[in-house]
């Protein structure tokens, strides 16, 4: 990856789709840092839209993990959302000011 190049992001133009899931732009906090998100979209989508792919770290090895299925089955996106642990970020919907923590992130 080139320096500063984002691996993911928002779709800028689309020929066939008129609108996507999220509503107005809001700010949520991921491990304390603010990111732009859209109200009502899944938290996991908001993270990807902001270029964040890691949603948790494996409990034994500490390896990074990210969303895999986006339909609530794989549990790889289990994060702490507004203090509640083990919330699937692909099912939890963005609310303004939401605080999201990545489990197992050191420091």
């Amino acid at each position: 990856m080139a320096e500063g190049e984002r691996v993911s992001g928002r779709v800028e133009r689309h020929a066939v789709i008129e609108s996507f899931s999220g509503g107005r732009e809001v700010v949520i906090f991921v491990d304390g840092a603010p990111i732009a998100a859209r109200e009502g979209e899944p938290v996991a989508a908001a993270l990807y839209g902001a270029g964040i792919r890691v949603t948790r770290h494996a409990s034994k090895s500490g390896e990074p993990r990210g969303p895999f299925c986006m339909i609530g089955r794989c549990t790889e996106c289990c994060m702490t959302v507004d203090g509640a642990r083990n919330v699937r970020a692909c099912r939890a919907l963005v609310k303004e000011g939401m605080r999201v923590e990545t489990p197992g992130r050191e420091g």
Binding site: M1, E5, R6, V7, S8, G9, R10, V11, E12, R13, H14, A15, V16, I17, F20, S21, G22, E41, P42, A45, Y48, G49, R53, V54, T55, A58, E63, P64, R65, G66, P67, F68, C69, M70, I71, G72, R73
Partner: protein, 357 residues
């Protein structure tokens, strides 16, 4: 703990093409029908399909998947089907009760007829590095890109040349991502030729007879080592996402919990509840339709849904035997038509095998 109990005549689990068509067939015969779906919107996988569908007019051919979903939803609401969204079925017990988590809590729903139209889940493929962020199911990528307007990566490697792999690759291109390759262990493309050519003419390279050796990266995929099978030389592709489109299997947990006899069919995607040609399982008042009854096309799911709906209302005493048989023979004719051609043959054989098993 005691949960509230709701009594209904008929419940359908899943609001995809099979579920909504089952509900429509039943409500038109006068049944009281509630459709449960864990998602916030009705339509199942149709909601994220933005390509035009094959089939005939009856199945919405020439329209985009999300348009078909919207039409079915309108019809359901118009005919008085209750679509209960954001409602997850947690259990289906041997007595026939469904345990449901709705927006207001968990309750028990007891229905005299239950159609399981729960769809399919994506199969996966494991290789060194597959746990890195950026490796995901093709369906997950499709959800991100088509429903939420988010790219799974800027440079994507697709694994699998079936229709899902081809269609999702095209959709990633539509959203502005680059597809750096489509890889398959097989030496031939698995999906429809038209889907292949649509992607091919955009300039996407195909790596047939190839396998993923490993994905590499620190906080996510950065590159992928692939190898031509048996050739011993590898290639390193720069990619930030790997999408796995390696097949679907019926989502049949509820059937197993209900105590339905489960059978395994490689052709139909894995374990599924045994059923007859009229979509009855071996448990009373319990029906199955769509991908949950064996992975096929959306148009087939619609017809199987209709079939299940008809059988259910017949068993509920809302439709006379002869009338039900007439309706079913029409559905049978469409199913035979849809399972014609070189792609449908294997499915047809597998289904016939199953009905007799």
């Amino acid at each position: 703990m005691s949960l509230a109990v709701e009594e209904r005549e008929m419940a359908v689990v899943g609001s995809g093409p099979a579920g909504m068509c089952a509900a429509l067939a039943a409500v038109r015969a006068g049944a009281d029908v509630v459709v449960l779906d864990e998602n916030e919107r009705a339509g199942g996988q149709l909601t994220k399909q933005i390509h035009r569908f094959f089939g005939s007019r009856r199945h919405g051919a020439g329209k985009r998947g999300f348009e078909i979903a919207a039409e079915l939803e309108r019809e359901c609401r118009g005919e008085g089907v209750e679509l209960r969204l954001s409602s997850t079925v947690l259990g289906f017990f041997p007595g026939g009760e469904l345990m449901v988590e709705g927006e207001d809590g968990v309750y028990v729903l007891r229905a005299r007829a239950v159609v399981m139209a729960t769809g399919a889940s994506e199969k996966s493929l494991a290789f060194p590095g597959w746990t890195l962020p950026g490796v995901m199911g093709a369906g997950a990528a499709q959800t991100l890109v088509n429903l939420h307007g988010v790219l799974p990566g800027r440079r994507v490697l697709m694994v699998g040349t079936g229709n899902v792999g081809l269609i999702v690759s095209y959709q990633l291109l539509q959203a502005g991502a680059e597809v750096v390759g489509i890889l398959d262990i097989s030496d031939r493309v698995g999906g429809y030729e038209v889907h292949y050519r649509r992607v091919r003419r955009e300039g996407v390279p195909f790596y047939l007879r190839h396998r993923v050796v490993e994905a590499r990266g620190e906080e996510g995929v950065e590159e992928v080592l692939v190898e031509e099978v048996g050739r011993g030389r590898g290639r390193v592709l720069r990619a930030d996402a790997i999408c796995l489109a390696v097949g679907l299997s019926p989502l049949a947990e509820l059937a197993a919990m209900r105590g339905c006899r489960m059978v395994y069919s490689r052709e139909l995607g894995g374990f599924l509840p045994w059923h007859d040609g009229e979509m009855r399982t071996d448990r009373p008042g319990t029906y199955v339709a769509g991908d949950a009854a064996g992975v096929e096309e959306a148009s087939v799911a619609m017809e199987e849904g209709r079939m299940a709906g008809i059988s259910a209302v017949e068993d509920l005493g809302r439709m006379r035997g002869e009338e039900a048989e007439r309706a079913r023979s029409e559905v049978r004719r469409f199913l035979l038509e849809l399972r014609g051609g070189p792609y449908g043959e294997g499915k047809l054989r597998a289904k016939e095998c199953l009905y007799c098993a």
